[in-house]
């Protein structure tokens, strides 16, 4: 009796626990955040959440710090993403050949991605240290002036980009390397017959064929880079001042340092829509290239 009941509903029995988790731990919190974005609340038990309509969104769009965070997010994300894409493809092409220690090379490339980001961020703080760090020692050794790196308003975001590039270029690289192994051989054979040079083959065959793979890597990195939290919070906490305060960091500060939960929620809703929009746009771009190629 029970057995046949279970047999009929097997599909739902196996998925129900995960479905419940999704409802309780994901869907409900998202709905809660959305709702909270129309309220004003600082988590005090004495004063319950107060309905303010769209005030949080209006306040957010009038908040200079929000626009600054949006700019910082765009600057950091696109800078890091562009460098990771170019470097990742270049390094993948470099490693895609037989040489001694190829296995070791792949292993070393794996490490930045899996090493604890907070710990590695703090290692970078030591590397960037203005008085004792090795970067400034190297600059001085070749007769240049030392920089402030993470401590300077102008240099902090590029310095953070370097950390992200170190951490995630290997990801792009591994994806592109996997893509390289699946490329068809015929175009190269006919190119050889036509006497094409190496550079021509790279430019007119390899790169166009790799386009869908590269776009996959870009999309994947975009989803993550825009939400970068660990390395920024561990190294600068958004500073100096608010120079490296991205949307994710500002949302965190609003929620858990200022306890402006309503305003923070409205920022997160906007941020979520932004990430979603960019992801969908890239999916469309990728689909179009697949059709055309």
């Amino acid at each position: 009796m029970l057995a046949s009941w279970m047999e009929k509903r097997f599909k739902w029995i196996v998925t129900l626990p995960a479905l419940l988790f999704v409802l309780v731990m994901m869907a409900f919190p998202i709905a809660y955040t959305l709702r909270l974005s129309f309220f004003e609340w600082s988590m005090s038990a004495a004063s319950p959440p107060k309905w303010v309509g769209l005030d949080n969104y209006i306040a957010l769009f009038k908040d200079g710090r929000f626009w600054h965070a949006l700019g910082a997010t765009a600057y950091f994300s696109f800078g890091a993403l562009a460098a990771e894409t170019v470097l990742g493809v270049a390094i993948a092409l470099l490693l895609h050949r037989e040489f001694r220690g190829r296995g070791l090379a792949k292993t070393i490339f794996l490490l930045p991605m899996v090493a604890t980001p907070v710990a590695m961020g703090l290692v970078w703080v030591l590397i960037y240290e203005p008085t004792n760090g090795i970067f400034n020692a190297l600059l001085q050794a070749i007769g240049l002036k030392p920089l402030h790196w993470l401590g300077s308003i102008g240099q902090v975001i590029p310095s953070l980009m370097v950390i992200d590039i170190w951490q995630w270029t290997p990801m792009v690289c591994l994806i592109v390397m996997a893509g390289l192994t699946t490329l068809p051989q015929e175009p190269y054979e006919s190119a050889d017959v036509d006497g094409a040079s190496r550079r021509q083959k790279l430019w007119y065959i390899t790169l166009p064929l790799l386009r869908p793979t590269i776009l996959t890597a870009v999309m994947l990195r975009l989803i993550d880079v825009i939400k970068t939290f660990d390395i920024i919070y561990a190294t600068t906490q958004g500073g100096p001042g608010t120079a490296s305060e991205t949307l994710n960091i500002y949302g965190y500060v609003l929620a858990f340092q200022y306890f402006k939960l309503g305003l923070a929620s409205s920022l997160l809703v906007v941020f979520f829509l932004l990430v979603m929009g960019l992801t969908l746009a890239l999916i469309v771009v990728r689909r179009n290239t697949e059709v055309s190629s």
Binding site: M25, A27, R97, A119, A137, I223, F229, D230
Partner: protein, 272 residues
């Protein structure tokens, strides 16, 4: 022509090793500094020649109680991974066999939605239930990282299994549940391994959820190392020793199970 080839090979070999050196440099630097005294770290010029000391490691365990935090990290990583497997394996099987793509896509959303949008409601709710600073809260939150890994990796794994295996089981009179538990799961070892390792690593590394939901009792390693910055003078040697201790288990897993990790990262790539 031949001469040019040899030159080109020398050039690309040099470039390769240079790239590898650059990417491994932070690790080299971390390990070296972890054996230096504060004075040695603060005297540039003596970067590579120094007398190593083990004091930093002793300090991290004795003064900064890293053993306790390490246990916390283990409990949360193992706990959230086991719970993710328990929920995720059957769900992935259901999604793969009955093409429940909607559920698969919903779980994918966990990857796209900024983590803090979950964190605010969680904090409010866990706070009112008195669950902040408990393993329960940490394990539940880390499952948001582990469960998607388990489900994505296992969907493609189950989809690739030939249907005949299950049909044979059905002919032998096994119910669907029995087929799943006795026939499908035992041959899914590599997939489960990949999924578990990804879940363990990314729970071990998690900072954002733990920093809010952990407290003195349940503090995990990433929070403990971050707290080094709150002392007036940064103890660099200790900090670097702590960084080595945190990253070592992950690096060992990555080296020992390289193939699984690459598969796991690639699964995220395909589904993402």
């Amino acid at each position: 022509m031949k001469k040019r080839n040899a030159f080109a090979r020398l050039l690309s070999n040099t470039a390769t090793w240079l790239v590898l050196f650059v990417f491994s440099f932070p690790f080299i630097w971390m390990v070296m500094a972890s054996f230096k005294t504060q004075v040695q770290i603060q005297s540039p010029g003596n970067f590579f020649w120094f007398r190593p000391t083990g004091r930093n490691y002793a300090e991290v365990f004795n003064q900064y109680h890293f053993f306790k935090y390490m246990i916390n990290s283990f409990i949360v990583a193992i706990g959230s991974t086991l719970a993710s497997l328990l929920l995720g394996l059957p769900a992935a099987y259901g999604i793969a066999r009955y093409r429940l793509n909607g559920l698969g896509l919903t779980i994918l959303a966990a990857r796209i939605i900024p983590g803090i949008s979950f964190l605010i409601p969680w904090f409010i709710i866990f706070n009112s239930l008195g669950l902040v600073d408990t393993y329960t809260a940490l394990i539940l939150s880390h499952m948001l990282v582990g469960l998607p890994f388990v489900i994505w990796i296992m969907i493609s794994y189950f989809e690739a299994l030939p249907h005949e295996i299950e049909e044979a089981g059905a002919i032998d009179g096994c119910g669907k549940m029995k087929v799943f538990l006795r026939i499908v799961l035992p041959i899914s070892g590599p997939g489960v391994m990949t999924a578990s390792l990804m879940s363990i690593i990314f729970s071990w590394n998690n900072f954002m959820f733990s920093i809010i939901l952990a407290g003195e009792k349940t503090k995990t390693l990433p929070i403990a190392i971050f707290n080094f910055l709150s002392y007036s003078e940064v103890n660099w040697g200790g900090l670097m020793a702590a960084a080595c201790i945190i990253t070592l288990p992950v690096l060992v897993i990555a080296l020992a199970a390289q193939k699984f990790i690459i598969n796991g990262l690639a699964a995220g790539a395909v589904k993402g």
